[in-house]
């Protein structure tokens, strides 16, 4: 029966992530943004509490905990510092491509070495147009932005295939619009050899879905923090003789922001739950990405607005929430690509629309 509670094991992990995000990620977010890196002690802690491998198979030292656990943890990390969350996760969503297209073997061949190398980063891009040209086994071209200052493994997702590149990757540092704790670079590939390539449209779409859910989960965290931070401010700041939160115009806005955050979270949990049921959840994952991206444009600018002029200044982190959220939505092909996937089946549907898993079969 309908039940929103996660298992106690997963809840415990979520609490660990929350504590880490609250105590370690959020407080140093500005310093990390300036330094474009996370400190090694934090990285060691992240590894120690088991957050780096929670979804990976046990053979790779992982906990094989599933998509919901991952979503819950990522929300917490996103609420702490989404840039740091990316920087701390050596494989990140790239692991999904390795797993879905290359299977366990690819995960061991390409993923495992990074887990042993402190600070290593696998970077996943969706090369939709494509901008990287395959010239018989090696690629050349530029990709305008990845949120990283190092790329130990480049995983490229096209519409029908995925491939990995380990050498010949040049990085041109950029200022970066957001997520600066993870770094920011332009990718330049000059005849970089493709280490391995897999062609499979279904597997590509499955990997893409899971990767989108990863980003959506981080967005939920950013939105939640933006909502809570601005609400707390609105309770302290007084104007016209009362806390600004007690002016109905702002009180209603805060209520709508909180509703938006909860809606995003529920959509993410629904998609993650479906994945854990063995469903590919292509549309629900894409829908979660789109919803979080749309609501980010409602929640984060309004969070800034609640702080007025202070929101625009960098003494408060709300301007960062707005930049980070927008940057997250640009990943993996961005919002329009996700919208395309989310609405794809509507063109082929013959019967009623199902909102829930397996719903059309209820009789």
């Amino acid at each position: 029966m309908i039940d929103f509670a996660a298992s106690s094991e997963v809840t415990l992990l979520q609490q660990t992530a929350r504590a880490l995000a609250h105590d370690r990620l959020a407080p140093a977010e500005r310093r990390r943004e300036a330094e474009r890196s996370v400190d090694p002690a934090l990285r060691a802690l992240f590894e120690e509490v088991g957050l780096a491998r929670l979804e990976l198979p046990e053979a790779l030292g992982g906990a094989a905990l599933g998509a919901l656990a991952r979503a819950l943890v990522l929300e917490e990390l996103g609420a702490g510092d989404p840039g740091a969350a990316l920087a701390l996760d050596p494989l990140g969503p790239a692991a999904y491509v390795l797993e879905e297209l290359g299977g366990h073997e690819a995960l061991c061949t390409y993923g495992a070495p990074l887990l042993a190398k402190p600070g290593a980063r696998a970077v996943l891009i969706h090369d939709r147009r494509p901008q990287l040209r395959d010239r018989g086994g090696s690629v050349r071209g530029r990709f305008p932005w990845v949120p990283s200052d190092r790329v130990d493994l480049l995983v490229v997702l096209e519409m029908e295939r995925g491939y990995v590149v380990r050498e010949g990757i040049e990085l041109e540092p950029l200022r970066g619009a957001g997520l600066r704790a993870a770094g920011a670079s332009e990718l330049r590939l000059e005849n970089a050899p493709i280490a391995e390539s897999w062609v499979s449209t279904p597997a590509t779409r499955r990997a893409h879905a899971r990767a989108r859910l990863y980003v959506a989960s981080l967005l939920v965290g950013v939105l939640r923090r933006a909502c809570e931070y601005s609400r707390d401010y609105a309770l302290e700041r007084e104007a016209f003789g009362r806390p600004i939160a007690h002016h109905q115009a702002l009180a209603f806005l805060i209520a709508d922001m909180a509703t938006a955050v909860d809606g995003c979270r529920l959509l993410v949990h629904d998609a993650a739950w479906r994945l854990d049921q063995g469903d590919a959840a292509l549309e629900p994952c894409a829908a979660a990405f789109v919803e979080c991206s749309e609501q980010a444009l409602f929640v984060t600018p309004n969070a800034l607005q609640l702080l007025g002029g202070h929101g625009f200044m960098q003494d408060h982190p709300v301007e960062k929430f707005m930049r980070d959220a927008r940057s997250l939505s640009l990943l993996l092909g961005g919002v329009d690509a996700a919208r395309e996937e989310s609405g794809r089946d509507l063109g082929e549907l013959r019967g009623p629309v199902a909102l829930g898993l397996g719903e059309t079969s209820w009789t």
Binding site: M1, I2, D3, F4, A5, A6, S7, L68, R231, A234, L235, R242, P243, A245, H246, H247, Q248, A251, F252, I254, A255, D256, A258, T259, D262, G263, C264, L266, L267, H269, D270, W273, R274, P284, A287, V290, E291, R339, E340, S342, G343, L346, G347, L349, P352, V353, L355, G356, L357, G358, E359, W362, T363
Partner: protein, 392 residues
């Protein structure tokens, strides 16, 4: 975590679907066409009673039987499905309706037996009704003016009530009145006014923009004499009512149910829009697909908000915020779905004879009944930022 209803609930939804397809949708369209509610002697209602519907949660048992096991989640799933076929018809279903919760919470065993037990007989369709709203008092219930005055063992009620569902066909109406208008909610008392009570009359079935299948009825109480035995929560009205209101407020299952009805209506609008777009070859247009995509996504958000609020209610966990979130969000999504459907229909929508056009009219009510969207935001703001009741 489990985000699908269990097998018994799915079966109930399946039965609602069959009933919906065969009866509910056609009756809703007929009522809309004819501009009047489905008459109470319509054979459909008798058939519902035969199917075992239209009963009461009151089991008659002395202790735990005080109320049947609550299953807000299942109720909500069925409500969503029935509203998919026609929300107006769903509200016209026989049963004690909104009058049941106050009788269960405030009434004595004797009163529960008197007013609710007949619903277990299943001899004929019976309705109960609930009347709080007045011409001059809607969201601000403290402002009701209907007065209650003691006369011997009886009470004399005077006033006007508005928009009470199923009131003219009801066996009884739970009427809220005040013993002292200057005391606001403190002065409120609930009375079960039975059909035929002297002074109960002037029933006027209102003409509405949509949802025509059920009656929204205004009536008056003129020196209406009600026996003392019909006052709910007789001896300790204040304490009992506080308990009732506390329960209604803390574990609210009504608001998410209304929100779920909106989700059902939104699904209907989406399905009809898709069917039309498919027939007209519009689905190749990315602009069209994108907007339909948004509707499905937002309906899923709305449903999950409803489910979560009901899940909390079933576990006796406070859910004021969550219930209001669902009720604040769902009607807007439904309206958007119906409005988009009209746009896709184009000039066909202007004819006034398409189901989507009906849904466009029906949908608006969902942001008004059971607490307007603004009231939901007030309730949320009280929880989120401690918004004072009187911000002066």
């Amino acid at each position: 975590m489990d985000l699908t209803p269990d097998e018994p609930t799915r079966e109930r939804v399946g039965r609602a679907r069959s009933l919906g397809r065969e009866w509910v949708r056609p009756l809703g369209l007929e009522a809309d066409r004819m501009g009047r509610p489905t008459p109470p002697d319509h054979p459909f209602f008798a058939q519902l009673v035969e199917l075992g519907l239209g009963g009461t949660r009151w089991t008659g048992g002395p202790e735990a039987g005080e109320r049947g096991p609550g299953n807000a989640r299942a109720t909500l799933c069925v409500a969503e499905e029935l509203s998919y076929w026609d929300r107006g018809v769903a509200v016209s279903f026989p049963g004690p309706g909104l009058g049941e919760p106050p009788i269960l919470s405030l009434g004595s065993d004797e009163q529960r037996e008197r007013f609710l037990a007949p619903f277990r007989k299943r001899d004929r369709p019976r309705w109960g009704a609930f009347a709080m709203t007045e011409p001059g008092a809607g969201s601000d219930v403290a402002g009701i003016r209907t007065s209650a005055r003691r006369e011997g063992d009886d009470w004399i009620l005077d006033g006007d009530k508005s928009f009470a569902a199923n009131a003219s066909r009801a066996d009884w109406i739970v009427v809220w009145a005040t013993v002292d208008a200057s005391r606001g909610r403190e002065g409120h008392r609930a009375f079960v006014v039975e059909r035929g009570a002297p002074g109960l009359g002037d029933f006027k079935v209102e003409r509405k923009m949509g949802l025509k299948a059920y009656e929204s009825t205004s009536f008056s109480l003129r020196q209406c004499r009600v026996p003392g035995a019909n006052l709910l929560g007789g001896r300790e009205p204040a304490a009992l009512r506080a308990g009732f209101e506390g329960a209604m407020k803390s574990f609210n299952a009504t608001r998410p149910t209304i929100a779920a009805m909106a989700v059902g209506m939104g699904r209907a609008a989406l399905d009809e829009s898709l069917a039309f777009a498919r027939t007209e070859g519009l689905l190749g247009d990315v602009r069209v697909r994108d907007r339909l995509e948004r509707i499905r996504r937002r309906l899923r958000v709305a449903r999950l908000l409803c489910w979560r609020a009901a899940w909390l209610a079933d576990h006796r966990q406070p859910n004021v915020l969550e219930a209001s979130m669902s009720k604040a969000l769902a009607p807007g999504v439904t309206f958007e779905a119906a409005a988009l459907g009209m746009e896709l229909l184009g000039a066909v929508g202007g004819r006034g004879d398409h189901l989507i056009e009906k849904l466009f009219r029906d949908a608006k009510a969902m942001d008004i009944v059971e607490g307007t969207g603004q009231i939901q935001r007030l309730l949320m703001a009280r929880k989120l930022v401690g918004l004072p009741r009187d911000p002066s």
